[in-house]
């Protein structure tokens, strides 16, 4: 018979519970603030919502062209995510499977770019975009973000975990290089692609500094730029800012919920069974 109570488990659960509260309280706090009447913003704080001012959400939505910002963020995020999935996995395939001179050096160079802080290349990047005439375009927000050293590294690790026997077998059957990538490697690295996709999505959706720099036109602003507008010189509209933030976090939460099982799933080895 299994014991339903173990002191050890109690300790583990208490620790986990503490961890959960640390994670959840900021979210709860955000939701509570977003549901407060505006005149109570300055009153003593409380953690659980006891007022439900749903019109804060409507007000936040109308305070700026938020539907436009959602559309912009959606397009940019989609473009960046799709671009990273395709381009990073193609590049990773080359680094994992092909043989060409300078491969290792090139890969290290790519990894090295991860160590350069973005702020250091912010102005030069902006100048390039400006000379290309891309200021205030989706191109400026999407194109430079369509590849990442992290994505290439991640996918290469996945590919290296898959036996080359599969490639050899496919090649004997007359499959091309691209065909191997498309038919053998991609289907086997679902979890990897999903992880990369989620990372790219989160990154693009939450990106602030780069859109801030390359976008001047109010109609091209993304959701993160829109949220910053609630913080003014002479006071911040906290209830509206929080209502806007809650709506802005919903897509990331959804993506995470649906992508969670991919995160946990391990590298596919199913192809070698039997």
């Amino acid at each position: 018979m299994r014991k339903w109570f173990r002191p050890g488990h109690l300790l583990i659960h208490l620790t986990l519970l503490a961890g959960v509260s640390i994670m959840v309280i900021p979210y709860l706090w955000m939701v509570t603030l977003s549901l407060k009447p505006q005149e109570l913003t300055y009153s003593p704080p409380y953690l659980f919502p006891n007022t439900f001012e749903w019109q804060n959400y409507a007000q936040a939505w109308q305070a700026a062209s938020f539907s436009r910002y959602y559309w912009n963020s959606g397009l940019v995020t989609l473009g960046v995510t799709a671009g990273q999935i395709v381009l990073c996995s193609l590049a990773a395939y080359a680094f994992a499977r092909l043989r060409f001179p300078g491969k290792e050096a090139l890969f290290l160079l790519f990894l090295g770019t991860m160590m350069v802080p973005f702020h250091a290349i912010l102005i030069p990047s902006y100048l390039i975009i400006q000379r290309l005439g891309w200021v205030d375009t989706y191109t400026a927000m999407i194109l430079p973000r369509m590849f990442s050293a992290f994505g290439i590294f991640l996918m290469r690790q996945y590919y290296e975990g898959i036996s080359t026997e599969l490639d050899d077998a496919a090649m004997i059957d007359g499959c091309s290089r691209l065909g191997i990538w498309w038919r053998i490697l991609l289907p086997l690295t679902g979890p990897g692609l999903a992880t990369l996709g989620i990372f790219a999505f989160m990154f693009a959706w939450n990106e602030f500094l780069w859109p801030l720099v390359v976008i001047n036109d109010p109609d091209m602003r993304t959701i993160q730029l829109g949220l910053a507008m609630f913080q003014g010189r002479y006071g911040t509209q906290w209830t509206l800012l929080m209502a806007g933030t809650v709506t802005a976090t919903i897509p990331t939460i959804l993506i995470f919920l649906f992508g969670q099982r991919w995160f946990i799933a391990s590298i596919a080895t199913t192809g070698l069974k039997g």
Partner: protein, 420 residues
């Protein structure tokens, strides 16, 4: 082969999709009309007001079209700096006066000295302390378009409960301390006079008021060395420490007055409009008390406007708008719409403005009356760093880790090092 085609076509569809998404969007029709952009961080009611004025100007002047672009307060300076680096600046902008030294030294601001001198209507009644912020080496690079200062806010409910009369506010430092001690109620967590004691510009710019009131100055006149380590500086800092020791204030986060937990606070003009709508208790305002042997003084903020247009036609068009916006008539209207304070004497003393204040928000009166005693923070490029180290040292004195004299001496050394 067929499968390979599917693969290639799938890829090309993906690529096409991406390219379609990223296709350039900005299409600007060639027009003879001059298109100008105007960046500022005015939001809410202030944003609506500037938009209304710009719309009206556009309607009356079909030869120009001004696009009013709102950029958040936190984002405007970095955006201006990047625009300057890229040489692709807006034609006009209005920015925090604290940023003017940085912007004026960028070399991208149009000198206005001659334009102001030859203006059709005289422009000599702008407050000199405000123009100081725009003047570098005798050249004028901007004009103030709004200002504000710090005065005393009083929680009338707490005052009355403590047996004090909000209609006769304290006028000297001694009276301020007396009232604060009488009104403080530690059991209920209520302090008498809220002070800004966290490091940062909030502390520095509050403290400067006390320093000036005591007869001191923050930097030397030529802005090359610290001047606060003086008798006046010591008097001001000791007054704060005395407020803490006497129980008039106990060290805590900023924001107690808004929570109904402080009887008094020194805060800015802009809070009149914000608190008028949000505070659930009665409150009033008064001129900031000053020492019996000192002088009235306050600190000021606000926005200054400048021109960054590149070619002559645009510069002229931008100046035309700027001259219109800063004219007494439009400024009077602007101040009534926003609650900002007049930057020109012609506005402050006009009957229209005075009547408006009495009728709509008498609580603004102390701010308008005291604007003539407002000082500006020293217009040096390193001001932000300077303010950080200064406030850091003062905090140590307020928390009892240094004596007042030690803190001022240490701050003097650090500030002088930054100015060198």
């Amino acid at each position: 082969m067929k499968r390979r085609l599917t693969l290639i076509s799938t890829l090309s569809v993906l690529c096409a999709l991406l390219l379609g998404l990223v296709g350039p969007l900005g299409i600007s029709a060639a027009q003879e009309q001059i298109q100008l952009t105007f960046w500022n961080y005015w939001d809410g009611k202030n944003g609506e007001s500037i938009q209304a004025l710009v719309d009206r100007y556009n309607e009356a002047h079909p030869e120009v079209h001004i696009e009013n672009v709102y950029i958040g307060w936190g984002e405007l300076l970095p955006k201006l700096q990047i625009a300057i680096a890229g040489g692709d600046t807006p034609d006009m902008a209005a920015a925090d006066m604290a940023w003017m030294p940085l912007l004026a030294n960028s070399g991208k601001l149009l000198p206005l000295t001659d334009l102001v001198a030859s203006a059709a209507e005289p422009m000599d009644d702008f407050y000199p302390a405000l123009l100081d912020v725009d003047t570098y080496g005798d050249v004028l690079y901007g004009l103030p378009v709004s200002t504000n200062n710090l005065e005393l806010f009083i929680n009338a409910d707490l005052f009355t409960a403590a047996g004090l009369d909000p209609a006769t506010p304290p006028t000297t430092w001694d009276e301020l301390k007396e009232a604060a001690v009488a009104c403080a109620n530690p059991d209920a967590g209520v302090v008498g006079m809220e002070l800004y004691t966290l490091p940062g510009e909030g502390l520095t710019w509050q403290f400067q008021v006390y320093l000036w009131q005591a007869g001191g100055d923050f930097l030397s006149e030529d802005l090359t060395s610290a001047a606060f380590n003086s008798e006046a500086g010591l008097k001001a800092l000791n007054y704060w420490i005395d407020l803490i020791d006497s129980g008039a204030y106990s060290l805590s986060d900023w924001g107690l007055f808004g929570q109904g937990q402080s009887c008094m606070v020194m805060d800015g003009t802009w809070m009149v409009g914000i608190w008028a709508d949000t505070l659930p208790f009665e409150w009033t305002t008064a001129p900031m008390p000053y020492p019996a042997d000192g002088q009235p003084a306050t600190n000021m903020g606000g926005e200054h406007m400048f021109i960054m247009a590149q070619d002559e036609a645009r510069q002229q068009a931008a100046w035309d708008f700027m001259a219109w916006f800063t004219s007494p008539e439009i400024q009077t209207e602007w101040d009534m719409m926003t609650g900002f304070m007049p930057v020109r004497d012609a506005v402050a003393t006009s009957e229209a403005y005075q009547t408006w204040i009495q009728d709509t928000e008498p609580r603004l009166q102390p701010f308008v009356a005291m604007q003539q005693y407002a000082h500006n923070r020293p217009p040096v490029e390193v001001y932000a760093e300077l303010s950080d180290v200064f406030s850091g040292m003062l905090e140590q004195a307020l928390y009892g880790q240094m004596s007042a004299q030690e803190a001022l001496s240490a701050a003097e050394i650090a500030v002088n090092a930054l100015l060198r």
